[in-house]
């Protein structure tokens, strides 16, 4: 059985009018877990709370089986973090920024750092302010991976990046996962990034966890149904999580695939995308 690298239990955090309510989920070792949800659903708040950037109101957060509050130094030495905004001192060069971050880690590996710098064609004497968004993200990943982190936590790393760099990032994650015992927790609202790499998916909506399960099982459990509008009635509507009708027919997401197949004839059944499933569960407005 796979060990849990992160266990969050009944986590509560109020932030103005928004709040995380009794959040409970866990991440398994050796998995890439996608943390999905629309903008404002609570992804960043959750990540910042589990990292201690936002003090929690209640609940427990355990990394590698240990409470973060009591083992902060040890745990933070084992995790690498990439935040959406970077938070770098822009007037500094890459070398200067590294010299602030590196001494914090007991197992900082300069050779790993230089390998990533060369791989990403970054220049150590370049100012951070002059980096493009893509290069900045690569630098953030370089800093996050140069101390042999066991868990990589990323908040919206692909947001605002072109498909080429997003694809490159996915390759980096897969390379990182080749080593045994590594895990990734990766929040995004661009779910297509997760189609290729994610093992597990956690959906958050309005501060609450909607599901936490394996990507394959989730997509297996749901289906995208298309058919003629004549098949839609008061009874069949209830079989769908989300249903859209146009003059040309209907399209709906269901988690009752067997019942739909039994009750509706002449329909097209397709495998849904992660986005289809996510939108089916997200409350509108």
């Amino acid at each position: 059985m796979m060990k849990a690298v992160l266990e969050v239990n009944n986590l509560k955090k109020e932030l103005g009018s928004f709040s995380l309510e009794q959040l409970t989920f866990s991440l398994k070792e050796g998995c890439i877990t996608g943390f999905i949800g629309v903008n404002g659903s609570g992804k960043t708040t959750t990540i910042k709370t589990i990292l201690g950037l936002y003090p929690k109101d209640d609940g427990s957060i355990k990394f590698f089986g240990k409470e973060i509050e009591k083992n902060e130094y040890e745990i933070k030495n084992r995790i690498g973090v990439v935040l959406d905004e970077g938070y770098f001192y822009e007037e500094m060069t890459l070398r200067e920024m590294k010299s602030i971050i590196a001494p914090a880690y007991t197992n900082w590996d300069e050779s790993v750092f230089l390998n990533y710098i060369n791989r990403f064609n970054l220049k150590l004497d370049q100012k951070i302010a002059t980096l493009s968004k893509g290069m900045r993200m690569k630098f953030a990943i370089t800093l996050a991976l140069s101390h042999h982190a066991d868990l990589l936590i990323m908040d919206e790393p692909t947001s605002g990046l072109d498909p080429l760099i997003r694809n490159e990032l996915m390759e980096i994650l897969l390379d990182f996962m080749e080593e045994e015992g590594k895990s990734v927790f990766f929040s995004t609202h661009i779910t297509s990034d997760l189609e290729k790499v994610a093992d597990m998916l956690i959906l958050i909506d309005n501060g609450e966890i909607v599901f936490n399960e394996s990507k394959d099982e989730l997509l297996e459990r749901h289906a995208l149904i298309k058919g003629d509008n004549s098949l839609i009635n008061e009874h069949s509507t209830k079989l769908f999580l989300r249903l859209r009708q146009t003059p040309f027919g209907f399209q709906g997401i269901t988690n009752k695939v067997d019942q739909v197949c039994e009750q509706m004839k002449d329909i097209i059944i397709e495998r849904p995308t992660i986005e289809d499933v996510m939108l089916a569960y997200v409350k509108e407005g």
Partner: protein, 196 residues
């Protein structure tokens, strides 16, 4: 800033023409250097959310706050060393070496100032605190010499305690460290509840 730390005491002392001008020159120089440097760092931190970046590494929240107080102390020591250099250069302008007691009093005043500034800034952020303290700091060259002179003339710091003189000179240092420690605990407490 290095040049300022050497030239400023000589300049201020020559302009003040007071009997205890050396001490006041040192104090004003230290206050300016500390405040400017501390604010430069706070500005960068506020602009780029530097403390959030530091707190995702093994650097702890407590460590971030402690570093601010250590920074003030290190700059004070650097200013003191540079002042001694200035005293050597500017001896002809009447700049003299400071006694341990004077250095202690200067440290105490710096300690009082930053013991208020750091917790206030931790609580309200850089922007709000900036306006209050900018006004205060620019008033100091006009008010501080008068206040200090008045205090010294009235022997406020020379309270007759039944302890040897050799120990008495260290009292300002002890009070300064005590104040800074209390302030640090308050700042740590405020910062531990802050959303970064």
């Amino acid at each position: 800033m290095l040049i300022f730390a050497i030239v400023a005491p000589i300049f201020i002392n020559s302009k003040l023409g007071l009997s205890n001008g050396s001490f006041i020159s040192f104090l004003i120089t230290v206050l300016f250097v500390e405040y400017i440097l501390f604010n430069m760092i706070s500005l960068q931190e506020d602009k780029y959310k530097g403390s959030a970046l530091l707190c995702i590494t093994p650097h702890t929240r407590n460590g971030v706050i402690k570093a601010k107080y250590v920074f003030i102390l290190v700059i004070f020591i650097a200013c003191f060393l540079l002042y001694n250099l200035a005293a050597a250069i500017g001896a002809s302008y009447g700049l003299t070496r400071l006694s341990i007691y004077s250095v202690g009093v200067a440290l105490l005043i710096i300690s009082v100032f930053f013991s208020i500034l750091i917790p206030v800034q931790t609580k309200f952020g850089y922007e709000k605190t900036k306006y209050i303290f900018f006004i205060m700091i620019f008033l100091t060259p006009f008010t501080l010499p008068t206040i200090i002179e008045w205090y010294q003339n009235n022997n406020i710091f020379n309270i007759d305690l039944p302890i040897p003189q050799s120990i008495k000179v260290w009292i300002p240092f002890v009070i300064a460290v005590l104040m800074a420690s209390i302030s640090m605990l308050i700042s740590i407490r405020i910062f531990s509840k802050k959303n970064l």
